[in-house]
Symmetry: C2
Subunit: 123 residues, 2 copies
Amino acid sequence: MRSLLLIAHGSRRETANREIRQLTAQLAERLGESFDHVGSCFLELAEPDIPTAIDDAVARGARSIVILPYFLATGRHVAEDIPAIVGEKQTQYPQVRFRTAAYPGASSEILDLLAALARSVPD
Amino acid sequence: MRSLLLIAHGSRRETANREIRQLTAQLAERLGESFDHVGSCFLELAEPDIPTAIDDAVARGARSIVILPYFLATGRHVAEDIPAIVGEKQTQYPQVRFRTAAYPGASSEILDLLAALARSVPD
């Protein structure tokens, strides 16, 4: 079983966390052929946290978990915090294959997206 | 004169801030026909901060400033902090037209981007 976990920062504003959950639901629809389960979790300020979401995926039978950091730059969260938490879970579940996808800010498409957003503001 | 300011969160890791500056340079190349000046600034932890970048744009002669929040969800930063800072500057510079573009997380293309990142991880 193959699981995808979108990891977002988490916010004190519940609206922001709800955005992430809605995006995850859309992503699950889109990726139904590639992943058996698509979930989201938060580094801080919202639930579930990353360890809980990984435990849940493993309890569902995940043998492969793809971590997708929903971040825009390689700050401490992407470079240190998330790898540390995932590394601990890899130790706890040696039978599960953990892999981490590139974060959106590392994608060349982000430039197209920003250019489109900037151009869409009328002069 | 028309100016575009990409506003990022800012990080303690200088690598992350450098990513933003490189992205801004690429964006400037891409948007040369639409904007006379493209700059970036940071909400916290890195320089320039938002007021300094706006002062700089106005000093360069900007009559129109488009704010592009480089964030993925409408957390406090997008919903409260950035509008408050920009609002103060709008009061200080009533002759300048400030507008705020949609943030990348609000774009429908972000879903395509995430799906592509997830699919790019081999099984």
